[in-house]
C-alpha cells in the first residue's frame, strides 16, 4: 500500500503504443493563446485504428490539443503552436523540417496545405453542426471539395457514410430534408458521417456526446467502435465511463501537461500518478 502510493507520486507516466503503430505523433507541443501558454511540452502518440481518449478537468488543454491536430486554431490570429505534430512523414507545424522517426507518409505530401490536411484528419464538434442544407448535401459537400464523383458514386458514398455512422436506417427516406430537422443525436451522427465521407485517416471528436441524451450517446459510441476498423479516432471527453468503455489508450491531462498516457484498461484500473488517481476517483480539486 505504502509502496504503491509512493510509486503513484510519479509526476508523469507515458506508456506509448509501439512506434510502428503510430499514425500521428505529437512531441513536445507548446500552445499559446496570445501570450497565455495553454500547453507545455505535450506528447501524444496516436495508434492506428485505435481510439485514443483525452480526459482531464475543464481547462486542462485537452480540447486545445485536439484542435492543434487539424490546425483548426489557424483561424484565429494570435493562437500558435510550437513543437512537432508528426503525420504523413512531416511536421505539420513546420513543413520544411526534415523529420526522422516519424509515422511514414501514407499519401501525398501536405506541405502546409490545410485543405489537404483536413481531408485526412476530420473533426466532429461538441455541438452538432449540420450545414444549412439537406442531409444528402451535408455529406456531399465535403466529398465534392476533394474529389470529382458521379451522381451514382455520390449516392453510394452518402449511403455508406450514413450506414457507418449508424444513421442510415433513420434517414434513408428523407435524404432531401434539411439536416437541421434531425434530433440532436442524429445531427451529431450526421456530422460523423460527413466527416468520414471524405475518407480521412484520423477522426477527431471534441466531446461529441456532451449535448446528447444517454440513448443517443450509446448509439454514437457503438458507431465509433465500429468505425475503429477503418479510422483512427481521437476523442476528448468529460465522461470517464465513456473513455473507459470505448478507448484503447487514454491520456490524462492537467494544467496543460500530459500527466499519464497508457492503455485504457490499465490506466483506469490502476492509475499510477496521484493526479489521475484523484481525478478518476472523483477526488480531484
Amino acid at each position: 500500500m505504502n509502496f504503491d502510493a509512493k510509486q503513484a507520486d510519479a509526476a508523469s507516466v507515458i506508456v506509448p503504443p509501439p512506434m510502428e503503430q503510430r499514425v500521428l505523433d505529437v512531441r513536445g507541443l507548446d500552445f499559446f493563446y496570445g501570450k497565455h501558454q495553454a500547453l507545455f511540452g505535450v506528447d501524444l502518440p496516436v495508434a492506428r485504428n485505435k481510439i485514443t481518449a483525452l480526459i482531464g478537468p475543464s481547462g486542462c488543454g485537452k480540447s486545445t490539443l485536439l484542435r492543434t491536430l487539424n490546425k483548426i486554431y489557424d483561424l484565429y490570429p494570435g493562437q500558435r503552436a510550437e513543437g512537432q505534430i508528426l503525420f504523413n512523414g512531416e511536421n505539420l507545424l513546420n513543413p520544411r523540417e526534415v523529420v526522422e522517426n516519424a509515422p511514414p507518409a501514407s499519401g501525398t505530401a501536405i506541405q502546409g496545405d490545410n485543405a489537404r490536411l483536413r481531408a485526412r484528419i476530420g473533426m466532429v464538434f461538441q455541438r452538432p453542426t449540420p450545414f444549412p442544407m439537406s442531409i444528402y448535401e451535408n455529406i456531399a459537400f465535403g466529398v465534392r471539395l476533394h474529389r470529382n464523383v458521379s451522381r451514382a458514386q455520390m449516392d453510394e458514398i452518402v449511403e455508406t457514410s450514413l450506414t457507418r455512422a449508424a444513421l442510415w436506417d433513420e434517414v434513408k427516406d428523407k435524404l432531401d430534408k434539411s439536416g437541421l430537422s434531425l434530433s440532436g443525436g442524429q445531427q451529431q451522427r450526421l456530422c460523423v458521417a460527413r466527416g468520414i465521407a471524405v475518407e480521412p485517416e484520423v477522426l477527431l471528436l471534441d466531446e461529441p456526446a456532451s449535448a446528447l441524451d444517454p440513448l443517443s450517446t450509446a448509439k454514437l459510441e457503438t458507431a465509433l467502435i465500429e468505425l475503429k476498423q477503418s479510422f483512427t479516432i481521437v476523442i476528448v471527453t468529460h465522461n470517464l465511463q465513456q473513455a473507459a468503455r470505448i478507448s484503447d489508450y487514454t491520456g490524462f491531462m492537467l494544467m496543460g501537461k500530459m500527466v499519464e498516457f497508457r492503455p485504457s484498461g490499465e490506466a483506469f484500473v490502476r492509475p499510477v500518478t496521484a493526479a489521475m488517481r484523484d481525478y478518476v476517483t472523483g477526488r480531484y480539486g
Binding site: 487539424n70 483548426i72 483561424l75 490570429p77 490545410n114 485543405a115 489537404r116 490536411l117 483536413r118 481531408a119 476530420g122 473533426m123 464538434f125 461538441q126 455541438r127 453542426t129 450545414f131 444549412p132 442544407m133 459537400f141 465535403g142 471539395l145 476533394h146 434539411s178 437541421l180 456530422c191 460527413r194 466527416g195 471524405v198
Partner: protein, 286 residues
C-alpha cells in the same frame, strides 16, 4: 414599531416609483402607437376613396383632367429595384467583410463608424451629393442618378443588418466548414450565407422599405416626369416626387391623387416591414 413603519414606507415608495415609471413608458408607447394609427387612418380616409384600376393604368394627369399614377408607380419601382440591386450587392459584401474579415482591424472600425454615420445622414445630403456626382457632370437629371441616390440610402441599412446577422452564426459552424477542408471564403459563401439567408432577405426588405418613400434624394436626381419613361438617362416620375408636387398644388384632384400615392407607399412599407420581420422571426426558430 418605528422600524416597521420605515420598512413599509420604503416599500410603498418603491411601489409608487415603479407605478410612475411604468405609467410613463406606457404613455410614451401610447403616443407613438396613436400617432401611427392616426397617420394610417388619415391615409385610409383620404386615399382609399381614390383607389381604382385607373390609378394603375393611367399616367399622372394635367390639372383637372382624369388620370392615375402609373408612371410614378412604375418609375418608383424601377429606381427602387435598381437601387436595391446596387445596395444589396455592396451592402452584403461590405457587411460580410466587416463580420468575417474585419475582426480587430482598425479599418473595420472606421468603416463601421462611417456606415453608421451614413445610416443616419439626412437623405437630402445624399441627393445633393449624387447631384454633384452624376447630374451636374452629365448635364441632366436622370433616373439612373435617382437609383444611385436611393442605393446610397439603402446600402448602410443592408451593410448593418448583414454584419449583425452574420455575427449571429456560431463560430463552430465556420470551424465545421473549415474542418472538412473548405477555404474560408467558400465556407462563408456556401454555409454562412445560406444559414443567414432569412436575415439577409430581411435586411434587403428593410432597406427597400426605407427607400420606397424617400423624396429628398430624388428631387435633385430623377427630378420627376409627368410622362411614362423607362429610360435611365431621362428624368423619371416617382411616387414620392409626384406626391410632393401634387400635395402642394391648388387642385383638388391632384391632392386626391397625392393621398392615394401616400397610401400606396405606406402599404408597401408596412408590407415590407411585416414580411421582413416574419422572416427574421422564422430564422430564429430554425
Amino acid at each position: 414599531m418605528r422600524f416597521d413603519r420605515r420598512l413599509f414606507d420604503r416599500h410603498a415608495r418603491r411601489k409608487l416609483v415603479n407605478y410612475g415609471f411604468v405609467g410613463l413608458t406606457m404613455a410614451a408607447t401610447a403616443v407613438a402607437v396613436i400617432a401611427l394609427l392616426l397617420i394610417l387612418w388619415s391615409l385610409l380616409a383620404n386615399g382609399l376613396g381614390g383607389v381604382g384600376l385607373h390609378i394603375f393604368t393611367m399616367d399622372q394627369p394635367p390639372p383637372e383632367m382624369p388620370g392615375g399614377l402609373r408612371n410614378a408607380i412604375l418609375g418608383s419601382l424601377e429606381m427602387c429595384v435598381i437601387g436595391m440591386v446596387m445596395a444589396v450587392v455592396t451592402g452584403i459584401l461590405a457587411g460580410t467583410w466587416l463580420a468575417e474579415y474585419g475582426e480587430g482591424k482598425r479599418l473595420a472600425e472606421v468603416v463601421r463608424f462611417l456606415n453608421d454615420v451614413l445610416l443616419s445622414a439626412p437623405s437630402i445630403l445624399i441627393g445633393l451629393f449624387v447631384y454633384e456626382l452624376l447630374v451636374r457632370p452629365l448635364h441632366g437629371f436622370s433616373a439612373g442618378a435617382g437609383a444611385v441616390a436611393l442605393a446610397f440610402v439603402a446600402t448602410p441599412v443592408v451593410t448593418r443588418t448583414t454584419e449583425d446577422i452574420l455575427r449571429l452564426q456560431s463560430n463552430q459552424l465556420r470551424e465545421a466548414g473549415m474542418a472538412i477542408g473548405a477555404g474560408k471564403s467558400y465556407v462563408i459563401r456556401a454555409i454562412i450565407w445560406r444559414a443567414s439567408r432569412p436575415g439577409l432577405v430581411t435586411g434587403a426588405l428593410l432597406g427597400f422599405a426605407r427607400i420606397s418613400g424617400e423624396t429628398a434624394p430624388l428631387l435633385f436626381t430623377s427630378l420627376g416626369n409627368p410622362n411614362m419613361s423607362f429610360a435611365l438617362t431621362q428624368p423619371m416620375g416617382a411616387l414620392p416626387t409626384t406626391i410632393y408636387q401634387f400635395a402642394l398644388s391648388a387642385f383638388d384632384d391632384w391632392r386626391a391623387l397625392a393621398w392615394v400615392g401616400a397610401l400606396l407607399i405606406a402599404m408597401t412599407v408596412l408590407a415590407a416591414n411585416i414580411i421582413g420581420r416574419a422572416l427574421a422571426r422564422g430564422s430564429h426558430h430554425s
